[in-house]
């Protein structure tokens, strides 16, 4: 027997899919993947969605999510083939030898149970120690993971703790039974950059201190480079490249890996602000339910054919600003001037033309479309509503729009469920363009997409801006996106505008503390970046 802790040999994983209008059929999600992991080693699994990385990670616990089935190959943990053992044996493996940390800790904790009871549940179940011992160990782990008030945080319920803290509690939960292997499934993807860095540091320290082995799954190469020893690049369920971290990020061999390494390659020449902004937001203050102010005296301008990027972490009020501009949340103070005239604060009182000129694109393209309507109906609806188009005329315009978003006529009768994530977002862009707007509010439109797909969407938005001369209010937490597409930038923090100006002004030193924190938190693709940043940080994230 070798000294490998985990050995995956020629793994094949399949699933049955139920496409609309077709017979259910079997597909293969993972083709012939093999990997070895020694005790105490960390392997990064990287790839975009559909690469099969989570599926491979879960196979080390012999678990298939939602009808997924392991159809071939062998998985050895501590020398035994876990695909051949029965349910009872699997329960011995899961939570004892291999534990799991999921992407969304907020959804992965039982809302009706105290954190401590959940953290020590596995330890008690497998009879590894007494309750008092387990609680002491959990408190020790909370402390070493940098959680505030480690003695008492376990008495709280999940909703009483922030997202970044929950992610660390989940790491403590995975470490508590002293497993041999932890599967980290995108543990920092749902967090703000400024919070991600703390969680990442906590995970890295925990791995080093305990000597546990880990599979670290992510789509972000810069993140995985900070914690892994080796990296396995996956695409469409196939192995693309395997090597040490240094080799992968410094001399990637395969073309696909090279693309991943140099993602965010868009460059955009900054345009000068004009004298007549298309939208003036003047001294806006807004609150929900009249009590807590989520926007405090915010003023920004957007110029025709240009992009204003609004950046900030969750809770900074950036989406609330969009709600105020669209009229969904009338402000308590201040006014909004659109194209020279003041906009009515509340949505129901705005004219059809005001509605038409101000469109919106959302983060989750698939919930922003009616799943029972075809692409043609979805894009055709604003044409009908605002311009009274019907029949052949409408169809012709829909096809023009489909060509503009580089999809073409063949998609006109498809349903949203038949499209990929990037295609769905393109359809949403076409729908907003159909109204011939002067301003489009883009709320985190690329956050749910893989880096390469997101790049495609950003390129498309920039091209369309040149053709249609439309202005964008681009809300995002991703500074790399901001750098590549904006003309001016507004940095927000806890409802206030902390920095505002043209792109070159905002991104040139001297920085205020918050902008510095934000800029320094964006993971960079180099070894040792994490330690460098933590060493010269000036302030803490609000999410802690």
């Amino acid at each position: 027997m070798s000294d490998n802790l985990l050995e995956i040999k020629n793994l094949k994983i399949g699933a049955t899919v139920y496409p609309p209008g077709e017979k259910p059929h079997d597909i293969t999600i993972v083709h012939d993947v093999s990997l070895d992991l020694k005790k105490g080693q960390v392997m990064g699994l990287i790839g975009e969605s559909g690469a099969g990385k989570s599926t491979i990670g879960l196979s080390s616990m012999s678990y298939g999510r939602g009808g997924v089935e392991i159809t071939g190959g062998e998985v050895f943990v501590n020398g035994r083939d876990i695909l051949k053992i029965q349910a009872h044996g699997l329960r011995e493996l899961r939570g004892r030898e291999v534990t799991y940390v999921s992407q969304s800790a907020a959804a992965s904790f039982n809302p009706a149970m105290r954190l401590m009871d959940q953290v020590i549940e596995t330890t008690l179940l497998h009879g590894l120690s007494t309750k008092t011992q387990a609680e002491e160990r959990a408190i020790e782990l909370f402390r070493s993971l940098g959680l505030p008030d480690p003695e008492n945080i376990g008495n709280r319920y999940p909703h009483q703790v922030s997202g970044g803290q929950l992610q660390r509690v989940m790491t403590a939960m995975a470490l508590c039974p002293k497993p041999d292997l932890i599967v980290f499934d995108e543990p920092t993807t749902a967090l703000d950059v400024t919070t991600q860095i703390d969680v990442l540091a906590a995970i890295k320290k925990a791995i080093r201190d305990t000597g546990v082995a880990a599979l670290y799954i992510t789509h972000d190469l810069a993140v995985v480079a900070q914690v892994s020893d080796e990296i396995l690049v996956l695409r469409h369920g196939n192995m693309v490249e395997h090597g040490t971290v240094q080799q992968i990020i410094e001399e990637p061999k395969e073309e696909y890996t090279q693309e991943l390494v140099k993602a965010h390659s868009i460059t955009h020449e900054e345009k000068k602000p004009t004298d007549n902004p298309i939208l003036r937001v003047e001294n806006i203050t807004a609150s929900y339910a009249g009590t807590i102010k989520v926007l405090k005296d915010v003023s920004v301008d957007i110029h025709a054919g240009q992009t204003l990027a609004v950046v900030g972490e969750s809770g900074s009020g950036k989406s609330t600003l969009a709600r105020v501009i669209t009229g969904l949340l009338p402000p308590s103070e201040g006014r909004i001037v659109f194209d020279g005239k003041e906009l009515t604060p509340a949505l129901p009182n705005r004219s059809l033309d005001d509605l038409r000129e101000l469109q919106m694109i959302y983060q989750m393209a698939d919930v922003a479309m009616n799943p029972r309507q075809t692409v043609g109906q979805i894009i055709g609806r604003p044409l009908e509503l605002y311009f009274g188009m019907k029949g052949a005329e409408k169809r012709k315009r829909v096809i023009e729009l489909l060509d503009e978003i580089e999809m073409g006529e063949k998609f006109i009768d498809r349903y949203p469920a038949e499209l990929s994530g990037g295609q769905k977002q393109r359809v949403c862009i076409a729908r907003s363009l159909a109204a011939k707007p002067k301003l489009i509010i883009c709320d985190e439109v690329t956050s749910a997409l893989d880096p390469l797909v997101a790049d495609g969407i950003l390129k498309l938005l920039l091209d369309l801006q040149k053709i249609e001369n439309v202005a964008y209010l681009f809300i995002t937490h991703d500074l790399a996106t901001v750098k590549s597409i904006s003309d001016s930038i507004a940095v927000m923090y806890l409802g206030e505008l902390v920095r505002y100006g043209t792109k070159s002004e905002v991104l040139s030193p001297p920085f205020d503390d918050y902008t510095d924190l934000l800029l320094s938190s964006v993971p960079e693709m180099k070894l040792g970046w994490l330690e460098e940043v933590l060493a010269d940080r000036k302030m803490e994230s609000a999410g802690n």
């Binding site: 999510r65 329960r91 899961r94 959804a107 992965s108 596995t122 319920y157 909703h159 009483q160």
Partner: protein, 319 residues
Amino acid sequence: MGHPILNLVAQRIALGLLLLFLASGLIFIGTQILPGDVAQSILGQSATPEAVANLRKELGLNDPAYVRYFKWLAGVLQGDLGTALSNGKSIAEGISSRLQNTLFLASWAAALSVPLAVVLGLLAVQYRNRWPDKLISGVSLASISLPEFFIGYLLIYFVSVQLGWFPSVAILNETMTLGEKLNAIALPVVVLTMVVLAHMMRMTRAAILNVMQSAYIETAELKGLNPFTVIRKHAFPNAIAPIVNVVMINLAYLVVGVVIVEVIFVYPGMGQYLVDHVSKRDVPVVQACALIFASVYISLNIIADIVSIVANPRLRHPK
């Protein structure tokens, strides 16, 4: 202290009282717009106009409707449900023993059906889409699809007449021991259980299956917990609110909707009492029964709301 739960609970109770007040108005209006004259129907067709006029005066029927409504309401609030027209006795006295009997029947039916429904629901989840699930769903669906009078007569014919296990007529009296009483109400309890079981069982199953889609159930499975522990510790506590709601609606049905079952088994409960007095055109009794039914319905639903509020950890432990 101003705990948000206390405020929410107080709000529910206040709303319930308001609802009860509105219900009393509807009941009163409903009985007023029925055709015919109460005095006339008491005295019969042969009564002289003078006698009818005298009786109307005596009963206060010449007052405007709103005056009579508030008189009635004031009486009810003081525990005086009025006097039955048919026998001149106090309604409160007549109803109390009937109400006790109905509650006796309903609580035994509840004691049997609620645990059974929850356990069957849990089993159906555990064996979902396999034969135990299909059997449980099938049998309970069949029993809810048959009208209760039909189930009632089937049971009377087979269990009572053919096998002679239980009496077909559920008559209670003061001298009976608890065992004798339970023997007497066995068949109506079974019928009621069969009627309410399916609804509660299917809701339990659906609510838990809904929770089973959550990410925290996957977490629990990946902890190596056995399937029944996953359901009991992680799924059920988060499915309590919808389950309690449907349980309460069914408990209300056990009290309010038993008219048919009581009539079939000649059981001396509220349902029988109501039906008897409707046929005698005894309006005050009908009003009193309706008001009691309304308050049972509203209070059980308030309890359901309060349980849902208290079961929600976000409300119980605010940030």
